[in-house]
């Protein structure tokens, strides 16, 4: 029993099922991020929690009360919209207290709540302005103020940062995280930005095609993606995938592939599972994150299995904090993440250190991870 239970929730429009038996239990104080590409059903799920869309089958419960068919205003939730949805004809103060007014809160209590919230969000000097006179970041704060003032059980955020410019987006991200740590509220947050998902959440639900592909902590999602979709969707640049042949030699399991010169190389798996051993002789998809392919000096010293492979550099992309290098492994292009001051030039042959502890294997047929 969680604080917010999504129990086999399904949504269909006519004969088309867009959400398939979604099952998520959110604990009190959790920051759950629903992440996925456009059309994966994440916003639909959020609207179902809010009560803006009906649930076709299954149940949504908040504090063990079934919410199916309950009006949005009676669910004790608050929502921050992508466009902020501030009422253009009302001042900031009226915007924030409108919900309280509609719920019949007396004027003195409304004013007190407005004072607290505007102090918390540092928007005290803006209360008499109209939304049209505010900047993007200020509107964002007002929209959060409108949600906070209600003191709801669950906060719902629908891509709240996507209308901001890059720098402000990073600032507001930190701001939201601070607010969550300070207030300890339960938040469900929808985004298509995997960085937002990883940085903000305590748990992530990666969605695609109306299914929850994986539900887990950011670390679980990033290090042990459940399938190829999660592996490629989360992380930027995305995980390198290459077809390799599995070869068992006693207890050691090797992934056999080629370098860019066509010479055979074999990489030893760090902790091969029984399931992986069973794939002896098969071709599997090997996934290695860019940061697990690096220059030998920058390799993780704590790792037990670092393989060094000589390969040539195709392209270098200095990104300030790191240098991204494109090379070829097993016939496919790979991105390696080197230290910022790594001295490599296109065309050079340099050693790359591959951290096999971080490598994951996928079954190319089912696209699921081989545990």
């Amino acid at each position: 029993m969680g604080f917010l239970d999504i129990d086999n929730a399904t949504k269909s429009y006519g004969a088309v099922e867009v959400l398939h038996k979604v099952d998520i239990a959110v604990e009190e104080g959790e920051f759950l991020v629903l992440v996925g590409p456009s059309g994966c059903g994440k916003s639909t799920l959020l609207n179902m929690i809010a009560g803006l869309e009906e649930i076709t089958s299954g149940e949504i419960r908040i504090k063990d009360n079934v919410m199916n068919g309950v009006h949005p205003s009676k669910r004790n939730i608050a929502m921050v919209f992508q466009s902020y949805a501030l009422y253009p004809n009302m001042s900031v103060g009226q915007n924030i207290t409108f919900g309280l007014e509609m719920h019949g809160t007396p004027k003195e209590d409304r004013d007190a709540a407005l004072k607290d919230v505007s102090k918390l969000l540092q928007i005290e000097q803006l209360l008499d302005r109209k939304p049209g006179q505010l900047s993007g970041g200020q509107r964002q704060r007002v929209a959060m103020g409108r949600a906070l003032v209600r003191n709801p059980d669950v906060f719902l955020f629908d891509e709240p940062l996507s209308n901001l410019d890059a720098k402000l987006r990073v600032d507001m991200r930190t701001e939201i995280k601070k607010l969550h740590q300070k207030l300890g509220t339960t938040i469900v947050y929808v985004t298509h930005d995997q960085i937002e998902a990883l940085t903000l959440s305590t748990r992530i639900a990666v969605m695609n095609g109306g299914y929850v592909q994986q539900l887990g902590t950011p670390k679980e999602i990033y290090d042990n993606p459940a399938n190829l979709f999660v592996a490629t969707f989360m992380g930027s640049p995305s995980m390198n995938l290459m077809d390799v042949k599995v070869r068992a030699n006693g207890n050691a399991i090797f992934a056999e592939t080629t370098n860019d010169a066509g010479d055979a190389i074999s990489l030893t798996f760090a902790n091969p599972s029984e399931e992986l051993k069973a794939h002896d002789g098969n071709t599997i998809t090997l996934g290695i994150r860019p940061e697990a392919i690096t220059d030998p000096d920058g390799a993780d010293r704590g790792s037990s299995h670092v393989e060094t492979v000589e390969n040539s550099v195709m392209v270098t992309e200095p990104a300030g904090s790191d240098t991204f290098v494109t090379t070829t492994l097993g016939g496919t292009e790979c991105i390696a993440r080197l230290r910022a001051d790594a001295d490599v030039q296109p065309g050079q042959r340099v050693p790359f250190a591959i951290n096999m502890e971080k490598a994951v294997a996928f079954d190319p047929k089912t696209e699921a991870r081989i545990n």
Binding site: A50, L52, F81, P88, M102
Partner: protein
């Protein structure tokens, strides 16, 4: 080279511009000619008009035709002037415009923010009101007004104009609200506002431009309507347009053209006033409604 060519560009620009202004001024004068004739003839004695000086300025200026048209001209059988009929028109126009605008706004709100099955078909059917010629509904409408006991009354005329006006006002507001962000309505729902609270507190305060468009349109149409007024209002209850007709078409006595001109201007004044006061918003509102729809 560059200097020389820009020089010629400016010169040709000046010539074209002069030509353009000339043409525009010519057209403006042409369009204003009827107004000139009306104004000039409404302030001269009848003898000057019948003497053949219709285009010339008055030799003797007088406001007597205006006061006669307003106060004492023969309308039908009574020498009442147009004044009582002017108030008849006001009593008909104000409620008819107000009711049809509010209903149109409500319809637009429902058709865009509370969508239901077949709502576009319903909207399409409502649009027929914009295209059905007035003459077709005369007889059925007369029958309905009779059944409702509203025949020959101002209330009956108000009903007719409201029914006819809803088509247009719904069209205006639906198109305007289609561009109104639905997220605002959803936010208000979560905030706990009900159907009418959302309408009054969120939508209507943001509907200024389209309300002006709707009011101007309805006001002009209803004020200028002659057919319904002539068909459904009797004698002393007739609106301004019908009274003006009775004034001009009277078959007895001398044709007082100067009084007729003054009466015609009096009948047109309210719509002119509405345009002057709110015309600025009219264009703006039309644009706002046309962006999305």
């Amino acid at each position: 080279m560059a200097v020389a060519s820009s020089d010629t560009a400016i010169r040709t620009g000046r010539i074209t511009r002069t030509f353009l202004y000339l043409v525009l001024i010519l057209f403006a004068l042409f369009y204003m000619l009827p107004l000139y004739v009306m104004l000039v003839n409404s302030v001269k004695p009848l003898s000057e008009i019948t003497g053949g000086g219709m285009m010339s300025l008055p030799q003797v200026w007088t406001l007597e035709p205006w006061s006669k048209a307003w106060n004492s001209a023969q309308i039908g059988v009574e020498p009442t002037g147009l004044a009582p009929y002017f108030w008849n028109s006001i009593k008909m126009v104000v409620p008819a415009v107000a009711i049809s605008t509010v209903l149109g706004a409500l319809n637009g709100y429902v058709l865009t923010k509370w969508r239901f099955k077949y709502d576009t078909i319903l909207f399409g059917l409502m649009l027929f009101a914009c295209f059905i010629p007035f003459q077709i509904v005369l007889i059925p409408m007369a029958r309905i007004l009779g059944e409702l006991g509203l025949a020959g009354s101002t209330a009956g005329l108000v009903l007719v104009h409201v029914v006819y006006g809803i088509g247009f006002s719904t069209l205006y507001f639906r198109n305007y609200y289609a561009a109104f962000p639905t997220e605002l309505v959803r936010a208000a729902q979560i905030d706990g506002a009900g159907f009418f609270q959302i309408f009054w507190r969120i939508l209507l305060p943001s509907s200024g431009p389209i309300t002006v468009v709707c009011v101007i349109w309805q006001f002009t149409n209803i004020w200028n309507d002659f057919l319904f007024g002539a068909s459904f209002a009797s004698g002393g209850g007739a609106p301004m347009t019908v009274a003006l007709n009775n004034l001009v078409q009277s078959s007895t006595g001398v044709k007082e053209y100067n009084v007729h001109f003054a009466g015609a201007i009096l009948a047109a004044l309210p719509t002119l006033l509405v345009y002057i006061v709110a015309g600025r918003y009219f264009v703006r509102g039309l644009m706002a409604g046309s962006v999305k729809g």
